[in-house]
Subunit: 462 residues, 2 copies
């Protein structure tokens, strides 16, 4: 990384319109100049010409990398979120640091191809199969950090506290891999993880859910996050059953319980938040907390439609995640946010093109603890994602409709050039260092082969 | 067209699984042999090898080709179906047979790239700007038929009766282009159109809606369709307002009115059918009528979520359409059918992978009047659509999950080879005769330039 210059045919610099002929100069991992109205033939020698529209790097604010291996394998048949979870657990049981690294590297590289330059990995697959820690207790987290670095994207590792299998219930055999048993052990492990923070990696915290973490432990995780100014995420009210269980146990909604235990006093993000009460929304608003929705996953898992228009009305920051990676396409998540709202409200325009773009860029970065990213502006991290406006999906619009076309018609397949933190990661639609489809094929094949082997091996000999 | 042979690595021959190593031989426009289990190196000389999974040609059962020019231009801002319609009317006012032909050719070619080998064009843009017929009264319909032929796909031209601007209201200035004023004129025009039927074009009928056609005229259109055994389609209950208006005027739901006027005794398809009563569904079931849903358009236009699980339970045939072409991707329509149902029911698996594939292939062909298409079987029209299983979207699944991956993870961009009626239309992901993105760019640019000119021209001189 040193100095580089990019000339963008069109660029989104914030606001309601794309700007023509923008020269962006980069030094190291930062943007140092942004000059609109600079003719393409009046640029420094060596300037890279970017046709189409260039937007800031996309932030994928909620990811479970290993779920990528489930794509195509869990959609059929009858069931619910809970039967899907059983299938996901079958996969989780098979991974080790090496297979996890390979699968995550391929998955993060698929994200890079889709214009994602930063991922929030909600990481709870910590321990060995029977629940005992690895010799290096953060071996699995290190595998994820290495995978993101290999793929050329930044990461906030949201190390996830997971202690119990349900409210007041011990972990089941698969869940033992997730569990630190006591919150003090989680804190000890995450303290050690902090030494791995770098210019491309930040360490955050997560509470898996009010199902998996008891109230006293929620409070300790929240205190840790506040003290370290670390982002704190939690799955909240994805399914009605979670609300029912929480109200029955504590006479509080999950959000109310998290608030009572001071989680919302940290830099808090509620993930999904599909089934909130009005009071829950007010709590988020009062505490200036954020929400991360994952529309393609919420469709797949039959979660329901959140009232995202109410959040927008309350000024709550919104981020987007591809979560289970049934689809990795942040443009699809952007438009799904608005389109699913239309399906429930029967009104168009609850969100704007600009607000949807913000959710996928600056909003996500903010909630992952990167306030210095998600904008094409001087001093920001140099993330530039260029989208073709001459594919069959995007052809036929002029510059005045380029933003709407990006949000409502482009797909991940239209991303043709990606710069992440000053480094070119994708060129002509291909990852610069990895054969991503081949890596996906190999790594996913390997984990399912391991799962089949495990199924053939008697329990006692594993 | 003469004899040709294709070896499919995997093919869907119906049922729940893809079959390996299928040799398909074609003579003219028909499939003459289908041989599963034939090794790739044991095939006739000149056999084309198709890697990935090959499915039957996709049928796009509801299209308004000219809406393609709206993509990216109508998504932003606040509004409803009805404000969107005003924008669509602005476009409709500008087209003539030549510009319509070019725009439709590009749109149908985009469909070919997406694996669509047959389109049902719901055609109501009949007349000159002030409403007077063209010298050749079917000039606009002929433009559409020529466009489909140029793009290499088959068409059912659903010529659409449109008489009034609303229940008991005259057409507004734009709607005059749609209106034949009296149903007898519609019949006369459509009779003439029948001479244009061919091996690649069939003529069907449509009732625009109960808003646009009075009850007595509905009955005459239905009689014409029954007498000619022509498919009959109608927009039904896309918006709650239509139901309210119809009940107020006739004390019947739109479906009840159509049934009372014998429309369901023809080979009838209700398009959208978003807001049906239980009685409406029973009417469809009793008359063995079909439904065509257009999920990506219904999302975009804030129509709401139809109870498609109830239709499936009632054994009602389902077809899919890309309608307004905000997206042209039948795989997205397939999965959206199930995913949107999940969002309202909170249950997974209302539809199966197989039933969704059937809706996009044999179901659509059936409701467009092509009972001889939509299957890879001896005697069927030779439509073969091959989907890559080695893209970043589809990599990592084996043959046992190929169907689910096609429906839930593939996109139109994964279609790499298309045979329509025995002719190769798409090879290596590119249309064999047209530069589709360039045609879209030129044709859409031209219609909006014409619209801008028209806006600058005083009304009196137009």
């Amino acid at each position: 990384m040193s100095r580089a210059a990019y000339h963008c045919e069109l660029a989104w610099l914030g606001g309601d319109h794309a700007v023509a002929d923008v020269l962006v100069e980069v030094d190291g991992d930062r943007i140092v100049t942004v000059t609109p109205g600079r003719r393409a033939d009046d640029v420094p020698e060596g300037t890279v010409q970017l046709a189409g529209i260039t937007v800031p790097g996309l932030a994928n604010a909620h990811s479970h990398a290993f779920h990528r291996a489930l794509r195509g394998r869990t959609h059929d048949g009858v069931g619910s979120f809970w039967t899907w979870r059983d299938q996901m657990y079958g996969l989780a049981a098979t991974l080790d640091p090496e297979s996890y690294h390979r699968l995550a590297r391929a998955t993060f590289a698929e994200m890079a191809l889709a214009g994602i330059t930063c991922v929030g990995e909600f990481h709870y697959l910590h321990h060995q199969r029977a629940g005992e820690p690895y010799r290096e207790p953060n071996a699995m987290g290190e595998a994820l950090l290495a995978a993101a670095a290999d793929a050329g994207i930044r990461m906030t590792l949201l190390d996830t506290c997971y202690l119990q299998g349900g409210i007041g219930q011990p972990p089941n055999p698969v869940q033992r891999r997730f569990s630190d048993v006591r919150v003090e052990h989680w804190i000890e492990r995450v303290e050690a993880l902090r030494s791995l923070a770098s210019p491309v990696a930040r360490i955050g915290a997560a509470i898996h859910s009010v199902r998996a973490v008891d109230p006293a432990s929620i409070e300790q995780v929240a205190r840790w996050a506040s003290e370290h100014e670390a982002p704190l995420h939690a799955h909240v009210s994805e399914q009605p059953a979670e609300n029912h269980q929480c109200i029955e146990a504590f006479a509080l909604t999950p959000m109310e319980l998290l608030a009572e235990r001071h989680a919302l006093e940290a830099a808090f993000t509620a993930v999904h938040a599909t089934h909130l009460t009005e009071h829950d929304v007010r709590l988020l608003q009062t505490h200036r907390s954020g929400v991360c929705i994952c529309p393609t996953t919420e469709r797949d898992l039959a979660d329901g439609i959140a009232d995202t228009a109410a959040w927008r009305g309350a000024g709550i920051p919104i981020a987007l995640g591809s979560d289970s990676h049934a689809v990795i396409d942040l443009f699809e998540e952007m438009r799904a946010t608005e389109l699913d709202e239309r399906l429930s409200s029967l009104v168009r325009g609850n969100h704007t093109v600009t607000s949807l773009l913000e959710a996928g860029t600056v909003g996500g970065h903010q909630l992952l603890g990167w306030p210095d990213a998600g904008r094409i502006s001087v001093g920001s991290l140099a993330d530039l994602v260029t989208v073709r406006l001459d594919s069959v999906r995007t052809a036929g619009v002029g510059s005045e409709h380029a933003l709407a076309t990006t949000v409502f018609a482009a797909t991940a397949a239209d991303v043709h050039h990606v710069v992440a933190g000053g480094t070119v990661v994708v060129r002509n639609g291909a990852h610069v260092t990895l054969d991503v489809a081949a890596e996906l094929h190999r790594s996913i094949g390997a984990v399912w082969a391991a799962a089949a082997d495990a199924a053939d091996t008697p329990e006692a000999t594993r």
